[in-house]
Symmetry: C2
Subunit: 368 residues, 2 copies
């Protein structure tokens, strides 16, 4: 299917207009637009052909035309003009990313919110699960007579801590023994093996300390389980109601509910390469609930075994160009941020002005 130049022009103009207004677009309107230098009648016959090609359709005779999913597909693949980020937008992203972030969860949450704000569509961010992760190290630090902190490190990346109040006094010697026990028996094993280890370890431990062993081990198991599942969070769900196609509450609900289920966003088709963006239009979605919505997902490089995805949902008439460019920019910034901290979620500072300039490239920027 190779469209001639004028058909492309017309399709692009029609989609741009429909994306903007959500109103079917007619030949007369396009003719008056200016960029096409032909009459409405000509446009009419061209549109009729575009319709027979399945790229446009009429909601009813005597209405204007509306792009079909196939039409959007052509638009996205061939016609879409690159949307330049405004300096202001980039500044927003850079500022958000420059904030020192201490936990991956929170970073993803913030990113989702940022994307949603910048695109005015609902957005989510998620990290891929690290199934094979094990605990690499334990530390125990005494606080006072009855209190100590257990510090658990997961696979060189994540550290979590738990403040533990004990009924029995905790001596430095006890903490040393505890440390020896855990570092010897509970490191490097998977979550399912944890329980068995726990039982044998508890048997060896005497009286009071058995309870403490159970608490620390329980905390470890919880951590491993958490690491196994990614927990995407939807931001800006409410903005869906801004779009007339979701005026019907039921429809919006279905979409939001689908994406609120933590298992689902993981299933959305994501690009393999970091920095790339994948667009899934309407019926291309496998999930029934998204059949008349579109999804744009970017993934980003963030070290060897961890994959991070950022996605946006909206009507099929989404502003693909704007969303794509912003998502790309954010995914690149996020990837940079994540790889900067080693393989970790804990970062020394963030991108600063100078370094972000590299990301921005040297194109000339246009506002909006």
């Amino acid at each position: 299917m190779e469209l001639d130049e004028r058909k492309k022009e017309i399709l692009r103009a029609a989609i741009d207009s429909y994306v903007d207004t959500a109103e079917p677009v007619g030949s007369k309107f396009l003719a008056s637009g200016g960029s096409l230098r032909v009459s409405a009648a000509t446009i009419r016959s061209e549109m009729a052909e575009l319709e027979s090609l399945g790229l446009l359709e009429q909601p009813h005779t005597s209405a204007g035309r509306v792009p079909t999913p196939a039409g959007y597909r052509v638009y996205v693949n061939e016609l879409m003009r690159e949307h330049k980020l405004s300096l202001a937008d980039m500044e927003t992203v850079n500022r958000a990313m420059r904030k020192r972030i201490s936990e991956l969860d929170k970073l993803l949450d913030d990113t989702g919110r940022l994307v949603s704000n910048l695109t005015s569509y609902p957005a989510y961010a998620a990290a891929s699960p690290r199934g094979g992760a094990t605990i690499s190290r334990y530390d125990f630090i005494g606080v006072d007579n009855n209190t100590f902190i257990a510090l658990v490190m997961l696979g060189g990346e994540t550290v979590k801590n738990k403040l533990i109040h004990s009924t029995a006094p905790v001596s430095p010697a006890f903490l040393t023994r505890l440390s020896a026990l855990f570092n010897a028996s509970f490191t490097g094993i998977a979550e399912d093996a944890m329980t068995a280890t726990l039982i044998s370890a508890t048997e060896r431990a005497a009286g009071d300390s058995a309870g403490i062993v159970a608490v620390v081990a329980g905390f470890s198991i919880e951590m491993l389980m958490e690491a196994k599942q990614m927990q995407p969070r939807l931001s800006g769900a409410l903005s869906l109601f801004d779009y007339p196609e979701y005026r019907d509450i039921g429809k919006a609900r279905r979409v939001i509910r689908y994406l609120s289920d933590e298992r689902n966003p993981a299933k959305l088709p994501a690009p393999a390469r970091g920095g790339d963006v994948k667009i899934t239009i309407g019926p291309e979605n496998l999930a029934e609930e998204l059949r008349d919505s579109s999804v744009v997902v970017a993934s980003c490089d963030a070290g060897a075994d961890i994959r991070v995805m950022v996605g946006v949902v909206g009507p099929t008439r989404m502003d693909y160009s704007k969303v794509t460019s912003r998502l790309e920019y954010i995914a690149r910034a996020l990837g940079w941020l994540l790889s900067q901290g080693g393989e970790g979620n804990l970062l020394l500072g963030g991108p600063d002005e100078g370094q972000m300039d590299v990301l921005e490239g040297d194109e000339d920027f246009e506002r909006n």
Copy 2:
């Protein structure tokens, strides 16, 4: 204002019915209900009197009657029958609370979700800010040549950690120096004094270590700022759309947006005593956005300087009885859970079957 018994009956029946169906209720319908043993005409004249008392009103002549906020107020104060929790509901709460929770944030988040599920209205949970909190202690633990963990303890309750990768090698001696510096200069001071201290400390530190000092201090400031503001989170916002009074998307949006703003839920009127419940009906709300919604808030005892609130929002025609009882139960369970862990956010286990029985009391339970 003392209503005679029959007026009370009628008001109660009218409100119960309207809560159920959201349809104006007419005299004929009430007469056919059975529990009133008088004719429709009698009910009509009684309802006319209730209307002149300002407890009922007609949306228009020749429609049934609808309770006014004042009517709900009377209902809540005098008429409401106590709603017994089903065993199944209690089991749900107990199970949720029995889960080992490691962070206060997460616990509140889970509680909000639980309340929303149990009441089918949007819910939130929030902890009151601890303004005067300071950092009480720092620990630094070496991981490998370039990496160490900074452990920061906030006022005896909260511990956060940060994994730090340094470009220069970190020796045990360096960590000892770091520890001495931070524990001497950065403990016990408020967030606003932090910056000044940081500058003088950085001046004293040499070269590479200055960067590290800045990172750790930045992390500390972030922590203190986080502790100063509570961060309530809205759960189940979507369920608002189940109610016909929010069919108008704009109205629902306003309510959800208001409650999504982290500053706002803190402003809602909360009961002073833990375990108590406060009901604010429609125009009783100070916030413009909630003028035709109702809010039910419970607070719970959770140690000396920390106050936790759990709240529910819904239409003025909310099922006050059901919501009140469930909220009460959950707030008590939460209070128990929080006070159990000392003053802390880190808990040894959770309530178990036996202990929760105390909470349940010894009333006989009815299902639903």
